[in-house]
């Protein structure tokens, strides 16, 4: 029964304190915000808890050349989003397409996260994949994968 609070280890707390690839909601409002020059940005939130994030990507030659996020969330959400942006940066669209939930969770030792918090951890993966199918729908009209990806997102958690 014990140990749910053990999830608050050094790495989670550090990432939540100093998120990477992150713009504060105030920075987001400025003219030179990263989000004013992305190729795709997607927003989503967890309706019952208040985690709310936007993830933007710059895509060049089928590669995620840059990725940042903004918004507000709990420590789990902020840490997982940071880690996910680190994983996705520099990857091809196909590689991003294949990022799995365990890739994110294992990076932070959250494989056994309780069900009620899993949505905090995986919101960012949902947003990245949603951004991806949005981009594919707009730029890669021949891709057969958009609907599959939408299904995957809908069943992520």
């Amino acid at each position: 029964m014990s140990g749910n609070a053990d999830i608050y280890h050094e790495m989670i707390v550090d990432y939540s304190r100093n998120p990477v690839n992150y713009e504060t909601p105030d920075q987001r409002k400025l003219d030179d915000s990263f989000f004013n020059s992305t190729d795709v940005t997607f927003h989503d939130s967890n309706p019952l808890c208040g985690d709310s994030i936007d993830i933007g990507m710059k895509i060049d030659d089928d590669k995620v050349t840059d990725i940042k996020f903004t918004g507000r969330g709990c420590a789990i959400c902020m840490a997982c989003t940071s880690v996910l942006t680190e994983i996705a940066k520099g990857k091809t669209l196909d590689e991003v397409r294949k990022i799995d939930k365990t890739d994110v969770l294992s990076e932070l030792g959250l494989e056994h996260l309780q069900a009620v918090r899993i949505k905090c951890a995986l919101l960012s993966l949902k947003v990245v994949k949603s951004a991806l199918y949005t981009y594919m729908g707009e730029h890669l009209p021949d891709s057969q994968d958009v609907d599959n990806l939408k299904d995957e997102v809908a069943n992520l958690y």
Binding site: S2, A5, V13, C49, G50, R72, G73, A75, R117
Partner: protein, 420 residues
Amino acid sequence: MDGYLKLQSTDSSFENLRKDFPILSRIVRDNKKLVYLDNASTTQKPNQVIDSITDYYQNHNANIHRAVYALAEEATEAYEATRDKIANFINIQNRQEIIFVRGTTEAINLVAYAWGRPHIKEGDIIVTTEYEHHSNIVPWQLLTQEKKAKLEYIGMDDNGELILDDLDKFLATGKVKLVTFSLMSNVLGTITDAEKIVEKCKAAGVPTLIDGAQAVPHMEVDLEKLGCDFFAFSGHKMLGPTGIGVLWVRKSVLETMSPFHGGGDMIREVHKYETTWNDLPYKFEAGTPNIADVVGFGAAIDYLTKIGMDNIREHEIELTTYAIEQLSKVKGLHIYGTKDISKRGGVISFNFADVHPHDVAQIIDEEGIAVRSGHHCAQVLMERLDVAATSRASFYIYNTKEEIDVLINSLNKVAKVFKL
């Protein structure tokens, strides 16, 4: 009604009634005593309530208002007895004005549907407030969108109190058809100056709906004095079972309402193509109701009446004063809403430095503490406060100062984890 304790509003006598609540001796997580501080969400149930439901199913269960046999008569009597207890509890003369519903949410939706649809027209205004629960916002959004009417909000000042000048401004348009507000905010605990709002609305000939879900469990509420036209509250926030609540509507208004659900028990005569309606309140209670939980609700009202609502209010003032005092000493902790205890109930929303309320709730859960974290179904208010979420501790009759001390100590753990 033996087994109830004679109570004075001192801490120790209130502590004695904890033995009526089996769940309060639960051990949770790592051998920690449960400290239940989420009473604004739902309250725990005393044996008297649990036993009354068991007794109903073991000895009296039958459908009501129909059959002539003994059990049906007993079930009907038990069901209708709660209606009388409620009439007495909130001081109304006419028991026909009390409609049993699933809870406050259903009550407000019933009004929006059965009163709102025939009465609201294009260009009309419905007024609510910035500190409402979603259940007193969304039904009005649905209605005003359907009718091309307008929804307006009475604003809230930085002290967590309503800005009643806003109401004057809306009433002056002559287009307001309903003003709806909660008697106590579920997030800030602010007690609304309801008598003043109703007085202003009456002067303008505008009906009022009061959401009493947070207030009725914690203080004496007198509908005759309040003078509103619609009043809603829930059983489960006042020691009663889940799934049962009350909508009260002034008879002169109730008579202008169309039915909500069609079906059995709400009819007088049904023919192939037309139907006539049953008498009040049965016109609004279609189908077999939640009989057992109505009986349990009656037992909850008996329990609260025995303690005395004034004693309960006094006990909660004592706890809330102590909690605000202690929480204010925690460095980096911000309490929302007024510090004026006469204007707030036993609900305290706070944020702890920059730690997200979910993380606070999770860490203190390891100490056995149940607090709510999130937006508390009040996102309009969260936007007004410019926060994503808060942590909320809310008290009831069985909480103690020692439990507040446990909460304060657990916050030190949060500070340690997050290096505050």
